[in-house]
Amino acid sequence: MAEEKEGLFSKKNRTLLIDPLDDNNPITVQVLGICSALAITVQLKPAIVMALAVLFVLVFSNVIVSLLRNLIPNRIRIIVQLLIVASLVIIVDQVLKAYAYDVSKELSVFVGLIITNCIIMGRLEAFALANGPWKAFLDGVGNSAGYGFILIVVAFFRELLGSGKLMGYEILGHKAKTVAESTGLYHFGYENNGFMLLSPMALITVGIIIWIQRSKNRKLIEN
């Protein structure tokens, strides 16, 4: 295949990296990967590890599928993609269990759920099958960053408002059994919003982010 010579970070390539952060964000614009955005945004730490795990899986599967794109038989391409994604996920899971046991316990089933993350299959189908490995790499980094960014923002608000903590640290003060014994905001009668811990609030938080983004970004305004 004769491809035009173009710089590693040409304007087109930079768009691949930056577009998914805002104009073409997988969660807020394409509304993909919502399932995991609801499930693991109760606390900030698992959300960050999840974002990193998705980054690894998406980048590698994108590059592998892109390298194989001229070899994969069209009729079984979905199952081949699934095979690649699933094996990468298993590798991540096994490596975490061996070298970062505590993190792997924290993420428990969610690592396995990366397989079903629609963003990954979506990028493989829409992008990696039709583009070279370098472009696929950039697309993978961009999309997982866009995904991770939203995940972290949602987790930030849910952990802060739902349990008054960030990364497990009590930043709004300590809540003791009585108001008098509590410190920080809790001393003044502040209560955590337990509703933030439940999935519906994740959906509403994502909704609010979409709303803010659409009102700011002209390109996304539909007639």
Partner: protein, 231 residues
Amino acid sequence: MDRNSNIYTFTFAIIMIIIVASGLAFTATTLKPLQAENVRKEKMQNILSTIGVDVSRDDASAKFDEFIKQQLALNPDGTVNDKVDAFKLDLSKEVKKDHDNQNYPVYQAEKDGKTYYVIPLYGAGLWDALWGYIALDSDKNTIVGASFDHKSETPGLGAEINQSWFEDQYIGKKIFDKNNEFVSVKAVKGGANADDIHGVDAISGGTITSDGVSMMVEERLKNYIPYLKNN
């Protein structure tokens, strides 16, 4: 070669599967010892934490040998079964057997000259398995420490059972009442009375998990009554 022919498709699939399968098999086998070691040390950490010994994962093995004097596998009638290695007993498999065919592991620990009895637990929560350890004082009645964990309870709700605020509530509770009858310790929805020596606060929004913990504690400890009363 025709990429749409059946032969090509089959060949591709077979080659792909062989590569992936051998890659995964290789990863799994190479990492297996490291993973097993992590699990073993975590178990030691959990057992030690119930008697108030907090150790890092690296020290777990040495400290375990230092504090745990005896590891016993009990028959249902409370006598010791010498043929079984208590540490290797897999509770998830044991609980599926009949009461009479199970072996009940118990760890005798010694700290500051006092003897403690650590009993492993295994049960079910809302989504999946729960497990943990309860340590009893020398009187074989007062709880001196508890440690719980879970496979996939809801984060922020049921998953809180492995947090110290929940576990520490068990300290000082008693499993036998004044008349030496077994009553266990229950997680009470809406909060236990402050003077209730058989109850702790359940988790709001985690009722089924809390009930699972209560069930697990009661079901497992019940099996040790002969041992606890006779020795």
